[in-house]
């Protein structure tokens, strides 16, 4: 059994060491991104900032047990890390380095007078989601620099080899430093598209975390929670941006249903079969409030629309039935603006709820040849369900099989297998009745 925090530790030396470790861990969890953001902003060297901060944390674990945890652990870590960077620049002795050096020394002096640590995380997010960087590396980069995830954990989330992910992260950080990518929040007309890239990256991190089978891996911190935390940072620093509000609302709506997606045996429960009483009411209420705030601002983008769709699903809580006509209409708007085959699949499912399975299948048929859907599990699962409802048993079974073959989550695979068997059994029953 592991020692619980509440249990008193007799040895005072061990106690101070444990206290120091707890204090360091608390900063690592809550303040990591803030510190990296400040340390990397002046000279744009994220890797150097991370290394300096890692050294500062290591020193804290040596220093704090004997000297006590400083009054402001964050300020202590920041000062030590800044010193490390200054020392590093001093060793390089370049002209450009000399300027950075002076800036950092000035910053350190200023910090002594104003111990309040400014929040520059948004600037770091904009640097990590800069258009000059490959879209696929933006979310991993944000997870590493703002949350301190290591390359191996990020690699697992994005289903990439750890060594490859490590190399991609190193390359991206080098590019930020060498290509002169700015650490600032864009203004004016530039803000909306650039913010879109930041929000996309946060949503990618959330989606990977959400799809994580069961989210039960104890070693990995819940990625979805962390992504929601990033969404909160953006909303706090840009409170008048409807898409930022929309994304946070969308993530909270999805997260509210996490527990309801599993039955007591750990089996998968699809949305339609979920018990709304198992949804997290507090999260839904917060999501709804955010969506209302977003709707009062001009312009409805992708995330606000998707949040509105989730809100229409959540209506089941009150009305016993999701607002399918609204869901259908919202997907149509989304489809018109994105042209995404993924949206088309969802729209077809919604249409089937309003106009019947045949109408859904017809809507889906327009996308059947799209190569982007050929290996897309939700397309096959949706198709199977609609075929089953339309009474096309053989085609339904085949589609269920295809969805099973494309699924990574064992509990979802078992669910699809059960559906496939149920469709076959129902038909066998019909034949029996005919005879």
């Amino acid at each position: 059994m592991t020692r619980s925090c509440a249990e008193p530790i007799a040895d005072p030396e061990a106690r101070t060491a444990a206290e120091a470790a707890r204090a360091a861990e608390a900063v690592a969890r809550s303040g990591y991104g803030k510190l990296v953001a400040i340390l990397s902003a002046r000279h744009r060297d994220v890797a150097a900032a991370e290394d300096a901060l890692a050294e500062a944390f290591a020193l804290a674990l040596e220093d704090w047990p004997t000297k006590g945890v400083p009054q402001s652990p964050e300020a202590w870590l920041l000062t030590v890390a800044r010193r490390r960077i200054i020392d590093g620049i001093r060793r390089e002795r370049t002209a450009a380095g000399a300027v950075d050096h002076l800036k950092l020394v000035g910053e350190e002096l200023a910090a002594r007078e104003a111990p309040e640590i400014p929040d520059e995380r948004l600037a770091l997010m904009f640097a990590c989601a800069h258009p000059a960087l490959d879209p696929g590396i933006r979310a991993p980069l944000i997870l590493q620099t703002l949350l301190g995830f290591d390359a191996a954990a990020i690699a697992s989330a994005f289903l990439t080899a750890p060594a490859t992910m490590g190399q991609r992260l190193v390359r991206a950080k080098r590019k930020i430093r060498d290509a002169g990518i700015p650490f600032e929040v864009p203004t004016g007309a530039e803000l909306a598209p650039r913010l879109g890239a930041v929000l996309d990256a946060i949503y990618a991190a959330f989606a990977e975390g959400w799809l994580d089978p069961g989210g039960t891996d104890a070693r990995s911190r819940p990625l979805a929670d962390e992504a929601i935390g990033l969404g909160r940072v953006v909303v706090a620093l840009l409170p008048e941006e409807p898409e930022a509000l929309g994304l946070l609302s969308l993530m909270l709506h999805a997260e509210a249903r996490r527990a309801a997606r599993r039955d007591i045996d750990g089996g998968f429960v699809p949305l339609a079969a979920q018990d709304p009483r198992r949804w997290d009411a507090a999260r839904i209420d917060e999501a709804e409030a955010l969506l209302r705030r977003a709707s009062q601002l001009p312009g409805a983008g992708r995330f606000q629309l998707e949040a509105a769709i989730q809100s229409a699903h959540a209506a089941r809580r009150v009305h016993g039935r999701a607002d399918w006509p609204a869901i259908c209409a919202l997907y149509e708007v989304l489809l018109a603006s994105t042209g995404s085959p993924v949206v088309a699949v969802n729209r077809a499912v919604a249409l089937a709820e309003v106009e019947g399975a045949r109408a859904g299948l017809e809507a889906l048929a327009m996308w059947d040849a799209d190569p982007r859907l050929a290996d897309y599990q939700p397309y096959w699962a949706a198709r199977a369900e609609l075929l089953a409802r339309a009474g096309e048993v053989e085609a339904a079974q085949e589609a269920y099989g295809r969805a099973m073959g494309l699924e990574s989550d064992p509990s979802v695979r078992r669910h699809l297998d059960r559906r496939r068997a149920a469709v076959a059994a129902a038909e066998a029953g019909d034949h029996h009745a005919e005879r």
Binding site: L159, A161, R402, M404, G405, P410, R413
Partner: protein
């Protein structure tokens, strides 16, 4: 690029549940075939059927059974042709055996 997906599983458990798990495995292979990436693959008989051969100083030594008593044993393989490692990892994650044992993904040495 060709990748070998080497499947390792608890052998006793695998052999015991072979029949009930076949539909999942079949669906997986069919999805790979439909995706046009499947080269070939086989499942192996129980690990107890293994016979080892080695030749040392001109003399052949034949032994019964597997060499190491690891918990997870080689259970079978799939050979696939995909553009890169990321694609191979995605397919490996869909392998039903990955939910129980482990799937090792290794590139085939090109001829």
């Amino acid at each position: 690029m060709q990748f070998m997906l080497l499947i390792y599983e608890d052998d006793a458990d695998r052999v015991e549940h072979m029949d009930e798990r076949m539909p999942h495995c079949g669906a997986y292979v069919e999805a790979m075939q439909k995706a046009g990436i499947y080269v070939c693959g086989e499942r192996l008989r129980a690990v107890g059927t293994t016979t080892q051969v080695r030749v040392r100083e001109g003399t052949a030594h034949v032994l019964d059974g597997p060499y190491v008593e690891a918990k997870e044993q080689l259970a079978g393989f799939h050979l696939i042709e995909v553009p890169d490692l990321d694609a191979a990892l995605l397919w490996a994650s869909r392998c039903p055996s990955a939910g129980r044992g482990v799937v090792e993904v290794r590139p085939v040495w090109p001829r």
